[in-house]
Symmetry: C2
Subunit: 305 residues, 2 copies
């Protein structure tokens, strides 16, 4: 079952207490693809400038990422520069240069329009709606957004919600969009606006999946070292959607498993700068981490009650 | 197997966005006992002033709480007044009047000295050590503390850690005590200082149990309404220790279950002011909530990997 992601492709410069990078390949589409490709082939739609290091994309292509939808435009690539606090719990954006991303109008190649699983990375909700006009009959559409769009394009975003199956946002975004401080009330509110599945990412505290008739919680993997949180949310979405696409199964049982694959990929993402960790993750490591999540939360049903 | 708690018995005045109370029975020993008594009889050692509403204690006595260790001293009872922020995520202490609690020197009645499960609520670590001198052969000693003691009596606290089995603290306390910001590193540090079990409470994000060879995480119950967080941590400890005492089993499997009973009791605590909710909780409600925790975190092992 084909899996499509539309989102940003960037060059990130990240400062953490443990070191820094300059013009390192990143962006929502690439973090998503690097993680998802470990489970299932991925089709990417995005744009890069003429200065983009194409070799980084070729390395992804060798691992099952179809780049036929990556447009190479004249001009500078999208650049983001951010600095994390000493404890990695907050970050400050130092610089954003949109470059060719400013004129990005996603064009879905004909070969991608049959995609059954679609992830709309964090871009202008008008463009996200435009993508939905181009895909034929997706089985599950998931979508991310951010505070910037919640504030500046709320009406378009609310319209978009009516056309998607799953919203994947972090806790702050869920609160801002819903006006509810309680995270479960926020998720409940989202379910009244269109999506039948609300996923709320909580960083080091894991993530929640809320459907109309059940709630699932996956903790974050207990890492004693966190290196660079950049892209963890998109890697989470990649693991989640990659598992759904490879199994072609959106049942409750499989969605719960998909959340765990998401959390596993999120945990790999933060272990190194950028998405380097995904270049070396083996199937055995993924299986071991998923088993570790079971050990982490498992308890026997009490005998009496 | 007898279960003993030593801690504060207070009159709390609490201001929340949803209402307020004045001179309401509380304190670590009573929140612990109210929760634990739903699972197993509890022996309480503490002190109240001559102004304490004895009827509140008698209500607990009818539910399996042995008050033979509650001293009634001349003077004013311990009073605490606090105000919660609009979202209940932080609180400010408006007033603390120690009253007779200032002179509290726990005397364990002869009939309580055989206690097999002991919880040392948050009091001066010198007094906590003094309690350990009075109990004969406990099977498991758990202990709470707070930033005030971490700052003012660090050496005594470190000595105490060498004599207990389980430290139960919140994330901020674990960080301050260990000097480690990462919560898993903080727990690991605690395990090098004496206790073989470290429990770190994370409020709305649940709690972690770390032993030398395993880590267990229980989320918080997904409540869409939280009324008053006061005492939730002590109720958590009460559920945890109550389950251990009634089963007389400190195996890994049973400790995992005990964490869930702790989280269940913590979730009941916040549903009403003070420990009122525990006056009505039924065995059926407890069993249903424990089952709900299983539903919340359960996922099937993936077929392949």
């Amino acid at each position: 079952m084909s899996l499509l992601v539309v989102g940003s492709i960037a060059l990130d410069s990240v400062l953490t207490p443990f070191g820094d990078t300059a013009d390192d390949p990143g962006g929502s589409a690439l973090f998503f693809a690097a993680a998802a490709a470990l489970l299932h082939p991925v089709q990417v739609v995005g744009v890069v400038g003429s200065d983009y290091p194409w070799s980084a994309l070729e390395a992804l292509a060798r691992r099952g990422v179809d780049l036929a939808g990556v447009e190479r435009a004249e001009g500078e690539s999208f650049r983001w520069k951010g600095k994390y606090s000493y404890d990695l719990s907050s970050r400050e954006t130092l610089e954003t240069r949109l470059g060719v991303f400013a004129g990005f109008r996603p064009k879905i190649p004909a070969a991608f329009r049959d995609a059954r699983f679609v992830f709309l990375g964090n871009i202008d909700p008008e463009l996200q709606l435009g993508v939905l006009d181009q895909v034929k009959e997706p089985k599950l559409v998931a979508c991310d957004t951010m505070n910037y769009w919640i504030q500046s394009k709320r009406d378009v975003l609310l319209e978009l919600l009516r056309h998607i199956d799953m919203l994947i946002v972090n806790d702050g975004e869920a609160r801002e969009l819903s006006g509810e401080w309680n995270i479960y009330r926020a998720a409940r509110w989202l379910l009244t606006r269109g999506p039948r599945l609300a996923v709320i990412k909580q960083g080091e505290h894991g993530a929640i999946l809320m459907a109309h008739d059940y709630t699932f919680k996956v903790p974050a993997y207990p890492l004693e070292e966190v290196f660079d949180p950049t892209g963890a949310g998109d890697a989470f979405a990649g693991g989640l959607m990659g598992h759904l696409a490879r199994s072609n199964d959106v049942s409750e049982a499989n969605l719960r498993q998909a959340m765990v694959y998401g959390a596993a990929m999120g945990s790999f993402a933060v272990e190194e700068f950028g998405f380097r960790r995904f270049e070396r993750v083996t199937a055995g490591e993924i299986a071991a981490r998923v088993r570790a999540f079971r050990d982490l939360v498992h308890f026997d049903a009490p005998a009496g009650g």
